[in-house]
Amino acid sequence: MIRVTKLHFAYGSNSKDTLNGLNFHIDSGEVFGFLGPSGAGKSTTQKILIGILNNYRGTVFVNGLDLQKLTSDFYESIGVAFETPNLYTKFTALENLDFFAQFYAGETRNPNELLEAVGLKDAANTRVSDFSKGMKVRLNFCRSLLNNPKLIFLDEPTAGLDPVNLRKMETLILAEKARGNTICITTHDMHVADTLCDRVAFIVDGEVSLIDSPRQLKLQHGERFVDVEYRDGDSLKTKSIPMDKLGSNDTFQDILKNHYMETIHSREASLEDVFVKTTGRSLQ
């Protein structure tokens, strides 16, 4: 779906490249995440993939199209939601969606159904200027889906959402994946990357340091131990036990048979741990 080779990019007259030779591919039907701190080059990469920044070096193919030869027809089949909602504030939610829908030659989705899906049905006829940040983010997401895109780009799709709407947004993104669509997300939110992405690329200082599935990364960088908390009389005790041959481990068997176990956790790494370990940088 997307193939990027030796991608370099510098802003304006900056002699220093913002992107330093990125190589990656994104498969059809995949949710792919760019994970990195602010200023790492995630949004720049995404802006190149959607044709906004065009004076890059290297090759970028999207749907078999060399982006140096991009025409406006490219946008018939992609959907984009920028981090900052881009909406007509003196127009209602429905007016915004109706307007943008008219630019597409193909069949578009019903704006009312999209608004209902993101919980904005009751605000359909409210002007965007009266929307909260979270409502604007959700409406922006609706706009990106209007043309039934096969490829969707989402820049920080959960920024500004409360926990309820965050979960709703995650469900909606996964629903798009279930429809067979390819989704490219940029985020600095480790939880979002972990929950939604089939694979993540760590970007720091314009370089991709690692690409893999969140699960694989957490297992590879974790330790094969389980941490058990249990009651021994009145006191709470903790034991770390090797995961291999756990069923025949005497300590584990003793806790199971003779004590009240309160918690048990495998010691895989968190995605943030892996990020810090691999890049030497934090996600903030």
């Binding site: 906004i52 984009v80 943008f100 030659a105």
Partner: protein, 230 residues
């Protein structure tokens, strides 16, 4: 179809942001001013007012509109749809042309001034409105804020308006023939003034040349600074 969609939205956008009310108030003020003037001053005042209305207002208001759009991050979202850059620009220019021309004709009617041969006047009014909107777009392409736009555009706005001095009989130089404003004033003044055919043809050619140059310049600047901002 995309052009009509964009044009319709631009007209509604301008309406909701109060531009139609602003034009209406200004048009009424212009008409009232003309009615209050002694009869001998009505005609020259009308030409200056039409020049201001068609040229200066378009020049400044188009910048305000583009910056309002940019303030709402709209250009980014428009250029990730199949909307072409020339369609985006045409919608802006045509929506403003409509506003300027309707307002100009209302002023003309309100001032009770009519001409024998309106063709030269109409051509002058339309192409002048187009050219000054394009001038505004040239500066709006890179401006970050409304203040930034006004500071950058005010100097050039005043500079290209210098041929008014010649129209008022204060100062003249052959260099003014390069300015689009010279051609604008001649064609607007055909309403009541007597001009040789060669002067009218010069004015048409002047405006067409400026229109061609500015169209290409606006397209190039919007492509570089708005559609593909770096």
């Amino acid at each position: 179809m995309r052009l009509l969609t964009a044009l319709g939205q631009d007209i509604r956008f301008q309406f909701r942001h109060g531009f139609y009310y602003a034009y209406l108030v200004l048009t009424i003020l212009y008409i009232l001013s003309l009615r209050l003037l002694p009869e001998s001053l009505v005609y020259p005042a009308l030409i200056i007012i039409l020049f201001t209305d068609i040229c200066a207002l378009g020049f400044f208001f188009i910048g305000a509109i583009v910056l309002l759009e940019r303030g709402q991050n709209l250009t980014q979202s428009l250029f990730v749809t199949p909307l072409r850059l020339h369609e985006y620009l045409l919608a802006k220019i045509l929506s403003f042309l409509l506003l300027s021309i309707v307002s100009a004709f209302l002023i003309m009617l309100g001032g009770s001034v009519g001409g024998q041969d309106l063709l030269w006047f109409i051509f002058g009014a339309i192409f002048s409105a187009l050219i000054y909107t394009l001038f505004g777009l040239v500066f709006a392409a890179r401006a970050r804020h409304v203040n930034d736009y006004f500071v950058k555009s005010l100097g050039i706005g005043l500079l290209i308006s210098l041929p008014i001095l010649a129209y008022l009989g204060l100062f003249d130089t052959p260099l003014f023939y390069i300015f689009p404003t010279r051609a604008t004033l001649i064609l607007l003044d055909t309403l009541g003034g007597d001009y040789a055919l060669s002067e009218k043809l010069y004015s048409v050619a002047n405006l067409l040349i400026w229109f061609t140059i500015l169209s290409a310049w606006v397209y190039q600047r919007f492509d570089r600074y708005v559609r593909h901002p770096v």
